[in-house]
Symmetry: C2
Subunit: 230 residues, 2 copies
């Protein structure tokens, strides 16, 4: 099968020096890619420069992206030409619009007007004691996947922090429905430590619990390839 | 000599998942450390988990830090016990205070009041179309170095983007004076590419131009060790 995997975390620039990112290292996506490669599948891994990656292999293609915009651009044609997307990348929710000193914000009658402003400096000056960064929501790439290719199998990921199992499942099922995903791998940051990675593969009517990254990779391989040849 | 080197970039958390960081990889600090190690000096490298690092060596100690606060805490005792500090780390200028939807900001009569608020969520909710992040200036670690140890040699670094040579020198000299540094390595992001790294080692009355990371490392070794034994 032709398997598309995303891993690592996107990075949204504030200016040419600073950016907002997340703590994703790419470790889970790497292990999932390696599991599919060992099973003889063709893997395309969409990731970032700083993420950990599998060793080079003839049936592995690696594509580097940076921010959400470049992710969306890279994914559209790839989604159309692959059989499954395992979207483990931590995608930024927000991207910077404008950064300024707090005094400008205090002196602006309608602060929504600041959303139309843009920084022209290459490196935003750092003289103010307090700065204010305005951010806008990024496009939800996962919501386009089944539009681009209704036949693709879609495994989404949901990472929450310090929530109950019920809340985790409820958020996962909402994502399943909204994005027409086949499965959501739901996990809580507090359950990822000391070599363990507890997670639940949530479908419409079941949840399968696993305890390590290797187990997650094995379970995803199983559900994606069941009844299909490599 | 006992040489203290900082490298990589600090990371300031917005919440348990997101953070603000910069594009520093640690490559320059790594090369400087390797140059001093080859010349037989004792090196302590203060860096971050994701930075590139020299291979293990008997005369190399590596200490990982995360944000500006942890950098300051780690550096104070080290500055007191070393002969020179080569401070190539890209230190965050600002750290997050509070993040909220733009509507809360618009509805707040005195927006300075928001600087006293704190996020209590582990992962800040992402339902608003626009969010606003308030940031405060971080303590200037470099300004404390000569207070902690008046006898230490201090090499500071200044990275600007797309400025004239005159502006670069003027900013470097202001930093030299303010922080009582012995030299400032001044560079422009536009001059770092394709394996080249143009930079100027600026002192009170001279600037020495170099063209690569290896040249920067060699020049810093020379000025730090001149007239001294390893």
């Amino acid at each position: 099968m032709k398997i598309l995997i995303t891993s690592g975390g996107t990075r949204e620039s504030i200016d040419q020096v600073r950016s907002i990112t997340n703590h994703s290292t790419g470790q889970l996506g790497k292990q999932i890619a390696e599991r599919f490669l060992s099973a003889g599948h063709q893997v395309t891994l969409v990731t970032t420069k700083s993420s950990v990656k599998p060793a080079e292999k003839p049936n592995l293609t690696i594509i580097d992206i940076t921010n959400v915009e470049s992710l969306k651009e890279a994914l559209e044609p790839l989604v159309k030409s692959h059989d499954a997307l395992i979207h483990s990348m931590a995608v930024s929710d927000y991207t910077p619009v404008y950064m300024t000193g707090i005094d400008e914000v205090a002196q602006t009658a309608n602060i929504y007007d600041l959303l139309a402003k843009k920084n022209t400096e290459s490196k935003i000056s750092s003289t103010d004691d307090y700065q204010v960064l305005f951010l806008k929501k990024t496009p939800k790439v996962i919501s386009h996947v089944k539009e681009w290719n209704p036949a693709i199998q879609l495994i989404g990921f949901k990472l929450l922090v310090d929530v109950t199992k019920e809340e985790l499942f409820s958020v996962a099922r909402a994502s399943l429905k909204k994005n027409q995903a086949d499965y959501i791998l739901a996990n809580d940051l507090l359950d990822i430590r000391d070599g363990k990675h507890k997670a639940y593969l949530v479908s419409k009517d079941a949840e399968i619990q696993v305890e390590t990254k290797a187990d997650i990779a094995q379970l995803i391989l199983k559900v994606v390839t069941q009844g299909k040849e490599s």
